[in-house]
Amino acid sequence: MDVTMRVNGFEHRLLLDPRVTLLDALRERIGLTGAKKGCDHGQCGACTVLVDGRRVLACLTLAAQAEGRDVTTVEGLASPDGALHPMQQAFIDHDAFQCGYCTPGQIMSAIGCVEEGHAETAADIREYMSGNLCRCAAYPNIVAAVEQAKPQMAGG
């Protein structure tokens, strides 16, 4: 089937089997491998992307469901001049990762968390980021990164 979606501002028209998930379309067809395939069952959050500005799991979304939608992946966050998104910079500043596998999902989820207004307190951040697992357990640094980026995002 034909599926047209905008990914990081660019329109993509794809001919897909209906079984293809948004995650596989992004990684295997469009070549954006930032969103990761961890569990592929909606349990780990590594595949988190924004669809129309809301964080969702790309592994449990059919590509066909993204028809006509705006998809943002971690590759779409930095400015064209290379300046990082405040959340990306905050993850670096706070060393909010070790192996890095969950990081794109963490960053996309963290942006959603702030934009939803669920990053008012550290406890809130922990609760509303609970869908993103980090096997390296960088959680304290992730919370610190979100706290740093939050006011910068409001200003931006």
Binding site: M1, P18, R19, G42, T48, V56, A64, S130, G131
Partner: protein
Amino acid sequence: MRPFAFERAPDAGAALRLASQASSGGTPARAPAQFLAGGTTMLDLMKLDVMRPERLVDINALAGPHGAIEADGKGLRLGALARMSAVADHPAVKREWPVVAQSLALAASAQLRNMASIGGNVLQRTRCAYFRDTSWIACNKRDPGSGCAALEGHNRLHAVLGTSEKCIASYPGDFAQALIALDATVELAGPKGSRSIPFAELHRLPGDTPEVETALRPDELITAFAVPALPWARRSLYLKVRDRESYAFAAASAAVALDMDGGRVREARIALGGVAAVPWRAREAEAALAGQELTEASAQRAAEAAFRGARTHGHNDFKPELGRRTLVRALLQAGRMEA
């Protein structure tokens, strides 16, 4: 994943037509045509080969007419395509029906709550590992007559109320407990028109036919939930006890709403999650509390009544006690609320 046809329904009429055009057969919960909203359960179970639809009918375009959240003096009306997060964050729902908002906010993860519709949420399937893993032959819910591997297997998270010899799977959801406690109704659209039934009649006890999970016909669609106005539902909450602090299914949960006259309970509404085969209204516990002073002792008596019929299967022997403690804590906490 097995091949399927993907269809987009522009409206409810088209959704029902597209569903009825698929071949019939299969158990009701495994009918050849399935509606797709958030897809968070459906795609998961299709990847596991538990669900094998020939046709998916995408109903997300119905969110316009069937996705609104309306709260006023007459009550709360929730369109079935409203997302879990939208209801959980709605200011009037949080204020007037806190148990509804909390049951959704404490479920799943933020991403899943952004995806999942509330109509799909109440239909989410059990997390019984033997149901989800098709390498196990025995699962009466998946393949009627094949047996129940959980009876002698790992049944730590299985139900202790409402089970049968055919199935001890627990109902995994949270929101449904809030709906059943508040006497909500569910609105259904079908090829023969619309009908409305008490939410309490939506889910079926497993009995001899655990594959029949609801009163929904295969070509029927949930369009809305209606929660009656209940001023004292401001004094309500959802308490969920889990193996980890967040993003887990309930080991035991309680949805409670209290109508208080000073320290005395005029009326209590109690539903239990994580411990039962279906969303579980604990009417015996409600009756035990009615007219009583709310104390730890009276809450304990209510909790004893709620679990009097519990049947455990080894690994889940802890559940009645955990369920009682959960309910006692929920009742005392609700009693202390300002409402």
